[in-house]
């Protein structure tokens, strides 16, 4: 079954793990024209994320956002996907690894299986599945768009093999299938094996093992999921009743000293719990009570603090700071009694809930630890892959990179960042010698449909419950069948699934269709998939029209299903009438400029620039100030103790000396034109302010953020009040002064998590602890107080937090409504705060007040650049990525990528990872030699043109001109496709392709037919 010839020698990258990280890495590599072998031990890829119902902070359905990625990876020609496969042996060195891979038998021929489900219906016991709560799962496939889109047989359990073989109409059952062993040679390895969820069964006090209504957060997710065991019905496992009161208990298996539990923080669980609570509230409003029991609320990610505020303020989710010690079944009421000590009290409280969700942490599975041994990479004390502060995705063994959970516990966006970063490092290893294979998907020649009578095919997705759950999708398809020129009209399951796409292609060919209407989700996300299907079926891709009956109908009118159905009919009719007028169009294709512009010369910018330059690209590194280095120049040590100054110095040297990097200091970007692959950016270069234009294909924004300096707590007024950065410098440069201190007070969240700057600055908790530990090293007697709101020492930083406590650093929590007060008393500062343990105000006379002021977006640069590049920003002025979850580096303007603190506050290590990730994304875009500007360009009908110049004046880009023949001409290479000229032309001589007037009129006709 596996074609051995497909496996390329040496220049191939092995990606281990088919979760989001593995998929992202594989796709980045493939787009950069590296061959990839992607293996996963499961029988379909997708990993943990495919089991989630929604993801934070957008509460989107993951399947919808992830599935296009999955099927994309399925069809990527550079990717060889091997499911049910594991590494058996590893030999060799970077650039030349030899691996032995073992693939378990599936007993099903992937080529033949259509995933029809007949085998499962007849012999459910011998078809494999392991979804969240598998005893109630309705389907053996883990999720509806599974890749490979095929079943898997558990031959052991099969009693009637002959019967099973017969039931398969596709003749896909292979009872003789055997385990296969094969050797592959690869140049680099990307580890993305993920993590496993802590098993709370061992913790007797929480009753997980004994009580079915105590579930893990992942199980709860499956219960909520439309594709889950209950088809989205929220019911208690014990009795199938809808719960009225649900509790979440945080830090189960994390930040704990229990047997088998981890001491680190699992980073993602706070948001996970908040999301589940919010989704629950969204669905059931006030009929369900929700409570989260937590120690510190760690919403440190981008815009996560706003999410927390929404949970508290808009959804009325109760947040209780306490660690429950037991969950017991209340025998009288059949509910669960949680006993805990509230934060502001010393007495135990017992409260009843219908369901308890345990926010279980993540840990590295034994399998993965074994794999690490085979690979010969070092693990840290928590069994995660060991990496270096300044090379965040490189393992201890060269040529092997790690991303996602196996590096440290993290959420999806950070996983995506690391996946791209790892892909980048791996492909960098191969870049110099790799002979890149150049193969493009071949499409059959396009059929000439101009003389054919209209033959329209309508395909209506039910999109699981998304469409089918609200309206009668079949009825809609039937209705479409009554419309003029419609030859075929049918309902399909998930239209975007591979199976459905193949079906559409076949139908086009069989029925000789020449126009296609898809009733499904937004064309914004899925148009390309259907266009490709048309091309495979020999039709021009512009002969398809998509009726957005999901995002703009069933999702927003589920409260009025009858109206939604009527509207769906209108939308389908609109698409059908308008597709009749569509005609074949040719895309405009131009050569790609492969130069890179990196804006911002801090650690992030330099890493991105060096990465791209090492790959062989010419890089312009534009820095607004006179020198490289950015904020990192003010930082001396990381919390792990690494020397930041030495690192930055070395980085600057490498950057300055690289012959493919041109550093432009004192550069102000003043204008920008063009499109991805052919940008032109104008600079003014100080001090002489001379003007210079650069042509480039992609842009990486690494403009950073500024150390915040809020006018609070006498900062800037009193000489002994300083920021953590000042403290860092003082420890480094004046250790003697540190030795003389007796009382040091640090205040957290100064200028962050406040109305002016609502988000968490992420870095301050660890930097306060870092400085506290360094002070402690120099001065063992000084009292160090850290006044905090939530200690957000996520991941392994928790270890340092623990260490600081052990070394006597005094942590005192304060509420946002009662912040500490500071008074200057001569040289000293009197800091007064409320001590919740003592339950009274306490004053400390301190000789040094150190404020954790965090970062604030550089409004100036983001304002200028946001305007010039047309890039949206968050309310706190950070650049807004295209998709907060799955595309954390890509900006909404294609060809633009963001990295570092311009995206959101983060540590140096995280910045480096993101810089590498941005380089990877840029690299994957530059992997193409041409750029496609689509077909939406304005065309002038010369005969009608009155040469009035109105288009010449109206065009925002000054593209039209009056040619020698005396009529307006628009260069397709320059046309941006806005259609403003078409709208103003008084002679109606201009039409915008894809949006021609008759097509818009047809849409109106389709939409309004009923009205007249």
């Amino acid at each position: 079954m596996q074609d051995q010839n497909m496996l390329k020698q040496n220049h191939t990258v092995l990606v281990i793990g088919g979760g989001v990280a593995g998929i992202r890495a594989a796709m980045d590599l493939a787009e950069s024209k590296r061959d990839v072998v992607l293996i996963d031990k499961a029988y379909s890829i997708g990993g943990l994320m495919t089991q989630l119902d929604r993801t934070f902070p957008t509460n989107n359905c993951d399947l919808c956002t992830l599935s296009p990625n999955l099927s994309e990876s399925g069809r990527q020609l550079h990717i060889e996907l091997m499911a049910m496969t594991q590494v058996a042996e590893v030999q060799g060195e970077a650039g030349n690894f030899k691996l032995k891979l073992i693939t378990e038998p599936r007993f099903i021929d992937l080529e033949k299986c259509t995933a029809c489900g007949d085998c499962f219906n007849k012999y459910p016991e011998c078809v494999r599945f392991t979804p969240g709560l598998d005893h109630r799962a309705p389907t053996c496939m883990r999720y509806p768009q599974a890749i490979p889109h095929a079943f898997s047989i558990d031959i052991e359990k099969c009693k009637d093999i002959d019967g099973l073989v017969k039931v398969c109409k596709a003749d896909a059952i292979l009872p003789e299938d055997t385990q296969k062993v094969q050797e592959v040679d690869v140049g680099a390895i990307v580890l993305a094996p993920g993590a496993e969820v802590f098993d709370p069964g061992k913790l007797d006090s929480l009753g997980y093992a004994t009580n079915p209504d105590v579930v893990t957060s992942l199980e709860y997710e499956r219960i909520l999921s439309a594709s889950g065991p209950t088809q989205g019905e929220l019911v208690r496992p014990s009795d199938g009743k809808q719960p009225d009161k649900i509790a979440w208990i945080q830090c189960v298996g994390s930040r704990s000293l229990h047997e088998g539990a981890a001491s680190y923080c699992s980073s993602a669980c706070c948001m996970f719990a908040l999301k589940e609570a919010i989704v629950t509230k969204e669905r059931f409003q006030d009929s369900i009570e929700t409570a989260i029991f937590y120690m510190d609320m760690r919403t440190f990610g981008k815009d996560y603090e706003l999410y927390l505020n929404r949970a508290k303020n808009d959804f009325d989710i109760r947040l209780s700071r306490s660690r429950p010690h037991s969950v017991l079944r209340n025998p009288e009421t059949a509910s669960l009694s949680i006993t805990y000590t509230p934060d502001d009290s010393n007495t135990n409280v017992t409260e009843d809930f219908d369901m308890v969700v345990l926010s279980t942490g993540f840990k590295v599975s034994q399998d993965v630890q074994d794999l690490a041994v085979k690979l010969g990479i070092e693990l840290n004390e928590h069994h995660f892959a060991k990496t270096d502060s300044f090379s965040p995705v490189a393992t201890s063994k060269s040529g092997i990179y790690v991303c996602g959970m196996f590096e440290s516990p993290k959420d999806i966006p950070e996983t995506m960042v690391q996946a791209s970063a790892a892909a980048f490092c791996a492909s960098k290893d191969l870049s110099v010698t790799a002979e890149l294979s150049e193969s493009v998907e071949e499409f059959p020649p396009e059929r000439d449909v101009s003389q054919e009578p209209l033959r329209i095919g309508v395909f209506v997705c039910d999109c699981g419950l998304n469409i089918g759950g609200v309206i009668d999708a079949k009825g809609l398809a039937d209705y479409a069948g009554t419309l003029p020129d419609v030859i075929v009209s049918e309902m399909i399951g998930h239209g975007c699934s591979r199976e459905s796409l193949v079906h559409i292609e076949n139908t086009i060919i069989e029925k000789n269709l020449n126009r296609v209407v898809i009733g499904g989700c937004s064309p914004r996300t899925h148009e390309t998939k259907f266009q490709d299907a048309l091309r495979r079926a020999g039709l021009n891709k512009y002969l398809v029209e998509i009726a957005n009956i999901r995002d703009q109908d069933t999702w927003v009118h589920f409260d009025h299903p009858d109206d939604a159905f009527i509207k769906a009919k209108e939308l389908i009719r609109m698409a059908t009438i308008s597709v009749a007028l569509s005609r074949p169009l040719t895309d405009n294709i131009f050569p790609m400029n492969k130069d890179v512009l990196v804006v911002g010369g801090g650690v992030t910018g330099m890493n991105a620039a060096l990465g791209m330059a090492d790959m062989g690209f010419k890089v312009y590194l534009a820095e607004r100030s006179g020198e490289l280095g950015g904020v990192a120049k003010k930082i001396h040590k990381t919390i792990e103790g690494d020397d930041v100054q030495a690192y930055v110095k070395d980085l600057i040297n490498k950057t300055m000396q690289h012959d493919r990097i041109e550093v432009i200091n004192n550069a102000f970007i003043v204008d920008h034109t063009g499109m991805p692959g052919m940008f032109k950016t104008g600079f003014q270069i100080a001090p002489q302010m001379f003007y210079r234009q650069i042509e480039h294909g992609v842009t990486i924004l690494a403009t950073g953020a500024l150390p915040n300096k809020p006018e609070e707590y006498l900062l800037g007024e009193h000489k002994n009040v300083m920021t953590q950065l000042d403290m860092d410098a003082m420890i480094e440069n004046h250790p003697d002064e540190i030795k003389g201190l007796t009382n040091i007070v640090m205040i957290q969240c100064v200028g962050s998590r406040c109305p002016e700057n609502p988000n968490c600055s992420r870095i301050c908790c660890q930097s306060a602890i870092k400085n506290a530990l360094r002070i402690r090293e120099l001065n063992s007697t000084a009292k160090i107080f850290i006044l905090y709101r939530d200690m957000r020492t996520y991941g392994f930083y928790e270890d340092y937090y623990k260490k600081a406590r052990e070394l006597g650093v005094i942590f005192v929590r304060y509420g946002a409504d009662e912040p500490p007060e500071v008074q200057a008393v001569g040289e000293q500062l009197k800091v007064t705060f409320y001590d919740s343990i003592l339950r009274r105000n306490v004053s400390v006379y301190s000789d040094c007040l150190c404020l954790s002021t965090g970062l604030i977006a550089d409004e100036e640069s983001s304002e200028d650049l946001g305007r010039i590049f047309h890039i949206p920003k968050t309310i706190d002025n950070y650049f807004l990525e295209d998709h907060i979850k799955l595309r954390p580096i890509d900006l909404s303007v294609p060809g633009f990528f963001v990295a570092g603190t311009a995206h959101a506050p983060k540590t140096i290590r995280e910045c480096i990872a993101q810089a590498q990730a941005a380089a990877s994304r840029a690299h994957s875009m530059l992997g193409r030699d041409t750029l496609n500007l689509g077909a939406a360009i304005a065309r002038v009908e010369g005969e009608k043109c009155a040469a009035c110049l109105i288009c010449v004046r109206a065009c925002p880009f000054s593209i039209p001109f009056i040619n020698e023949d005396g009529y307006s001409e628009i260069d397709p290479a320059k046309c941006h496709g806005c259609g403003i000229c078409a709208a103003v032309c008084p002679a109606k001589a201009i039409q915008l392709m894809q949006y021609e007037d008759d097509q818009i009129m047809a849409k109106l006709t389709g939409l309004l037919e009923r009205v007249n």
Binding site: R524, P956, D997, L1007, L1008, N1012
Partner: protein
């Protein structure tokens, strides 16, 4: 006319309002199904005749939704559209259809809430204005 349910056509810019409408979808923000969206690459592409034809064909209200001021992907298409809508409003006043049936709204791609709210507001407003006189007159015509 008590149960009058207006039909409203919204011309939405691909880059902002259309995306905002999708966003409203992914956030499951309900709004009246009276609003039907036609996607355009830029609000500046919406021709006066498109608006008029929508009304002529019986729409009770029309709005053009473009990007926030200064955010147009094509520099100033939204401003052009605003001016055009103002011109059409005057023309509609002249022929007693009422310019208030047509509006220009601005929003960014992330404003799913604003999209839903606009749909609610517009539906409410048109409901108060009553059916498009073009339509009701021709219906009367049919009845007779």
């Amino acid at each position: 006319m008590e149960n009058f349910e207006p039909t409203i056509v919204a011309f939405c810019c691909h880059y902002c309002a259309y995306t905002a409408a999708d966003m409203a979808g992914s956030k499951r923000l309900c709004y009246p199904s009276n609003v039907k969206i036609i996607r355009v690459p830029c609000s500046g592409k919406v021709d006066s005749i498109h608006i008029l034809k929508a009304l002529e064909m019986g729409a009770d209200g029309v709005y053009v939704a473009g990007c926030l001021e200064g955010d147009c992907h094509f520099k100033n298409g939204n401003i052009e559209a605003s001016k055009r809508v103002a011109y059409i409003k005057k023309l509609l006043d002249e022929i007693n259809i009422g310019g208030e049936r047509v509006e220009m709204v601005l929003m960014s791609a992330g404003m799913g809430e604003r999209f839903a709210q606009t749909a609610v507001d517009m539906t409410e407003k048109i409901r108060k204005l009553g059916p498009n006189p073009v339509k009701s007159a021709s219906k009367a015509d049919h009845a007779a």
